[in-house]
Symmetry: C2
Subunit: 428 residues, 2 copies
């Protein structure tokens, strides 16, 4: 637009020369030029995007978008944070949970995001985080790419505006999950994790089918229709229950679930519940990808009671999904190899542990000291704090001993004496 | 800008008439006109803000930004959702937790938000939700107002770009909390809840001081420096522990806590942990304001283990904060009145309960039916589902009875016989 406006100014100058020399003509040209200059200045106020960053730096400066993430290494939480750039995550459903999950992963600097949705942004979605009113009418995928690319241009974004429950949509979905173009290690699958953030049974069953066929680990998420509970669940084909292993008891049949929901009543939703579920989902995604902490197999959220149930579900040998049964068979067949690997790992660990002192992982900094030595240095060492820190409470020695109250029972009273006193009290 | 561009098109038409009739002049005018038209179309794509909404409607249409929130009433979660417009919430600290809390409350349609911060947006903040790279250099308050006003123009936003730990900042903070201009009921306080989303001890103690002096209920929130745990806490002056009742054991003294943090190392942070803490904080805010569910007195979040500890803390009679001790005294003095009110409420409830059948709240839809009646209607009533729904699993009757395996022990075997069989097996 800027080039275009400059050209216009030049053309107006040419016109000025071609015009018969009359004051009204000159005024008109001047007016046009000032208009163009004004539009020019308005165009310049359009925001500039942040430029790409080649390597993630841990440098502690305000201009480093990754300093607070790389600090996870120095804090001992993550071994190699920058590995996050190697991972691909697919998010199916860019609604109240999926869009926030996508933003979190984008801000964390994930390597590649694959986004799937066919819906459009509506004002009715404004009670959840992420989409803005001016994006109404855009497809959710387009609006998401617009926002996410502005937030972090380092993330590779792939968007698929399609319905995975149609035949063509499912085929595109499957081939996009298998595409290994992004991977440095072409032996592994196309994506590292699929996050299901859809709002209906049919779509969940389709994600389940795709992941069972591909042996693809995925996480399922959901929020109840009354907006005050939700859950996340880890699904590893063959190893854990798949979505069809324990289906919901009542499901839609023959009609579109969305029309069922909208018949007079729409489902309630809250930005809080969806934000919490998205946060728990992406937190477990980070733990899974970067190998820290414990990945929850299932985590529920009851907002009314702030209750967070957990559980584990084994696969159902009578599962109705044929691909699930195949994965279960493979998992059982691979058991001897898994056991051998686990044994070898345990032996290697016990071997390396033998080289180090017992309790090398000394969380409470307990150390064994000689009694006489402790007497000498105790006061100094326990009082020591780095410069700039002070104790808010006095140390135990500074507390006054509680005043000894007048003894009501003298020390030489025996049990009989006590009983007599009690009887006297009861008789009174 | 649109008017300006229209005027330009008109002026160009006037020029066309004034120009000597030469093909090159006409081409130039045509070119200029098409330029203006192009700029015109670009200008039209500039976002339009959504207009204000007078009343919250429950109508289920895509253009209603409140339909999914008003649905909370129909779902039986909230009695009167629209009351949210009467409430004022103050958020101190518009960082990783405060900004997301502000966005959630804005999308929920809160009446008024008071925002306090003195910091500027930096690229180093981009690993958390809410702020965008193009807002770098703006104050966090200005950037927040810009974003929040676009999201929901119905919310009254008041921003205070100040440091509450300075004398002047504290005075402005106090008077802003007392200002009752927004309230329909001028007898109550100026705000309904204060959310502390600051990142240091000093600021927390200042919020504590202000709320103790005003008898103002508030919620505290925090995220650990290693980014993998956080908490929220409800503080009711006099009734629960205040922040000074049980202070941290080690705090900064004499130096700015932020310089301590930045000396070589900065604190780690994650959008997930901060999003979860903000979600739990605002969820409890909604429960507190709209009176549903149970408001947690303290809720922790351990991200590594997905563990959520809870606890309650009574006020410390030896608290170092004088205002806290005053509130404690008032709370104890008001005990007889509180007990009387509780007793009256309980009596009223038991009276109204007597009018209704026992277990009116029949969550599992258990009903007592006559045996003979049940025989007749059972098959029909339990199989009934609304149109469009089907059972995913067969009903119990449809299951085949398990094949009866060849009995190994005949029914007339007695205990002796069994023992003999067992001995024979052991001997074999």
């Amino acid at each position: 637009m800027e080039l275009e406006l400059k050209e216009m100014l030049h053309d107006l100058e040419t016109l000025r020369k071609a015009l018969p020399d009359h004051p009204s003509n000159q005024t008109l040209i001047n007016k046009l030029q000032s208009h163009v200059e004004h539009v020019c200045s308005l165009a310049k106020s359009v925001p500039v995007r942040r430029s790409k960053v080649k390597d993630m730096s841990a440098e502690v400066v305000d201009s480093n978008p990754y300093s607070r993430l790389m600090a996870l290494q120095r804090m001992g939480i993550v071994e190699n944070y920058e590995r996050i750039r190697e991972f691909s995550v697919a998010i199916v459903g860019i609604g109240g949970v999926g869009s926030v999950a996508a933003e979190m992963l984008t801000r964390c600097g994930i390597g590649r995001l694959l986004l799937y949705d066919y819906d459009k942004v509506e004002l009715a979605n404004m009670n959840r985080l992420f989409f803005r009113p001016e994006q109404c009418g855009m497809t959710k995928t387009d609006a998401a790419v617009q926002t996410l690319a502005d937030i972090n241009p380092d993330v590779v974004l792939e968007s698929y505006t399609l319905n995975i429950t149609t035949v063509q949509g499912f085929n595109t979905f499957m081939s996009s999950l298998k595409n290994k173009a992004f991977r440095s290690n072409k032996d592994s699958g196309g994506v590292d994790l699929v996050l299901s953030c859809v709002d209906n049974y049919e779509a969940r069953m389709v994600v389940n089918q795709a992941c069972n066929e591909l042996g693809q680990t995925w996480m399922e998420s959901g929020v109840s229709e009354n907006a005050v509970s939700g859950h996340i669940q880890l699904l590893i084909p063959g190893e854990t229950a798949c979505f069809a292993c324990a289906p919901p008891l009542v499901v839609a049949s023959g009609v579109d679930e969305r029309t069922l929901k909208r018949e007079g009543v729409c489902a309630a939703s809250l930005p809080t519940t969806m934000g919490v579920v998205a946060g728990l989902l992406v937190q477990n995604t980070l733990k899974f990808l970067l190998k820290f902490g414990h990945v929850s197999p299932y985590l529920g959220y009851n907002a009314l009671k702030d209750f967070f149930p957990t559980m584990e579900m084994k696969p159902n040998p009578q599962c109705s999904n044929a691909a699930c049964l195949e994965r279960q068979k493979e998992y059982i067949l691979a058991k001897p190899a898994r056991d051998a690997a686990a044994k070898a790992k345990m032996e290697a660990e016990s071997l390396s542990a033998a080289e180090f002192p017992l309790h090398a992982d000394n969380e409470w900094n307990i150390s064994v000291v000689d009694d006489s030595e402790a007497d000498k240095s105790d006061a100094k060492s326990s009082d020591f704090l780095p410069e700039g820190l002070m104790r808010e409470l006095p140390t135990a020695d500074d507390f006054q001993k509680p005043p000894v109250s007048e003894p009501t029972v003298s020390s030489n009273d025996d049990l009989d004496e006590l009983r007599k006193q009690l009887e006297a009290l009861n008789a009174a």
